[in-house]
Symmetry: C2
Subunit: 255 residues, 2 copies
């Protein structure tokens, strides 16, 4: 079985890692659209178009199941993807919501890109269950992570800048609504304190797709990127914990 995973860039490798840790006998094809990263500050229309193009590429690689590892793409493009693809499609929103509902005492914070937060998708789903939701767009977190600045004074202050309101609102649970954010998790947890449970979607997502996964044979991994910049291999190793050669690919596209 072959699972396709796409993200706007390297952040989705955090999701890929959780999937690979759980399913050791499945093939994975990853696509990071690094030529157009980030998606999170672009319009819904553009995010949907890019997502369809990424999916088209992965379908060409013969995948049996698609994981949208990008929260911005999951927020806007999931319906379009499900309509146009003949295979199961999973996003990262529902798993995060599910986990939050399991553990919250009633007040959930959500952080994400401008696109994810504007879509209001986390807020709507959580409020359906009577949960109070406090959300905050945190657009500088992605460039921080992409610069590898996941600790130190500047990262700390930016964490404080974005999370201050959520801490004051005394949320008991915080959803990391962007696949880049798990890399800032230690700083975020330290700032929010022991009483706040921080969750990301990767582990729950890995459980959610279980009924669709058929494991057999060895696991093969292919890492595709639309742009290979000098620090890409460093970031791959930082996230996956192993060295894998990225392959440069072209997408059928329009901008």
């Amino acid at each position: 079985m072959k699972i396709g995973v796409f993200d706007s860039g390297v952040g989705g490798l955090t999701v890929l890692k959780a999937l690979r840790d759980k399913y050791k006998h499945v093939d994975f094809v990853y696509l990071g659209d690094t030529a157009r990263v980030p998606y999170g500050n672009k319009s819904a229309q553009t995010v949907i178009r890019y997502s369809l193009e990424c999916a088209e590429f992965l379908m060409g690689e013969g995948i049996d199941l698609l994981v949208v590892a990008c929260n911005s793409a999951s927020s806007y493009a999931l319906d379009s993807l499900r309509e146009s693809l003949p295979i199961p499609v999973f996003g990262v929103i529902d798993p995060g919501v599910k986990k939050a509902l399991e553990i919250t005492k009633g007040k959930v914070g959500v952080i994400g890109t401008r696109a994810t937060i504007s879509s209001g998708v986390y807020k709507r789903r959580l409020e359906e269950y009577g949960v109070e939701v406090y959300q905050k767009a945190s657009p500088l977190f992605v460039p921080l992570v992409e610069e590898g600045m996941v600790e130190g004074k500047i990262a700390q202050e930016i964490v404080e800048y974005y999370l201050k309101d959520l801490k004051e609102a005394r949320v008991d649970t915080l959803i990391l609504g962007c696949t880049h954010y798990p890399l800032l998790r230690p700083l975020i947890e330290r700032y929010m304190g022991d009483n706040v449970k921080v969750i990301d979607s990767a582990t729950v997502l890995a459980l959610e797709i279980e009924p669709f996964v058929k494991e057999k044979g060895l696991s093969y991994l292919e890492l595709n990127f639309t742009d290979i910049s000098p620090n890409l291999e460093f970031l791959i190793e930082l996230i996956l914990g192993e060295v894998d050669k990225p392959r440069l690919v072209s997408l059928p596209c329009k901008v």
Copy 2:
């Protein structure tokens, strides 16, 4: 006469503004490739491809002269553009170098995106004239400006973080090697102190193209963008000081 100006996003509007201030009777067509912004953390190969696509779009609009307002694109794509276009092409590197050579006492600092600094183009040109050059990639400045965070504690600390070495090296002149950076100029000047002359390319560039400019009639301005995100109009007004409706366009492209 019609002048085409392109940039990876909104930063090039600082160059457009300087050109419009000087040439009041010329038509301008601007293209911001906001669907793929930023260019500065992408590879040379991708930056060249994108630049050729932007130029192709502007040629289709009937321009007589092309200004590459993006430093990353000027660093890597100027030769390719000049080879493939039948009109004069100007970048933002040479004007910055020229101005720096005029005023420096011997030590020049250069800040820019990762792409611009890695290209080494400022360093090589300045060193040809026996100038000592200290350069520093400052990749967080672009997202700061795009978030409108051009003052306050976080912006100040990021300015200090990137400029510390240049200040300690006692540069007497500092080139803002990215069209986004003029928006951080007040903070940068305050940190570097009165003894350091801060220069950006826009004004010098406007002088440099003078022999090629034929003014007549009224000035027409067309603002094209490949993605229109919610805060685009705010940024246009912040930089141009006037409200102009952006037009959403598609480029013939490949990613």
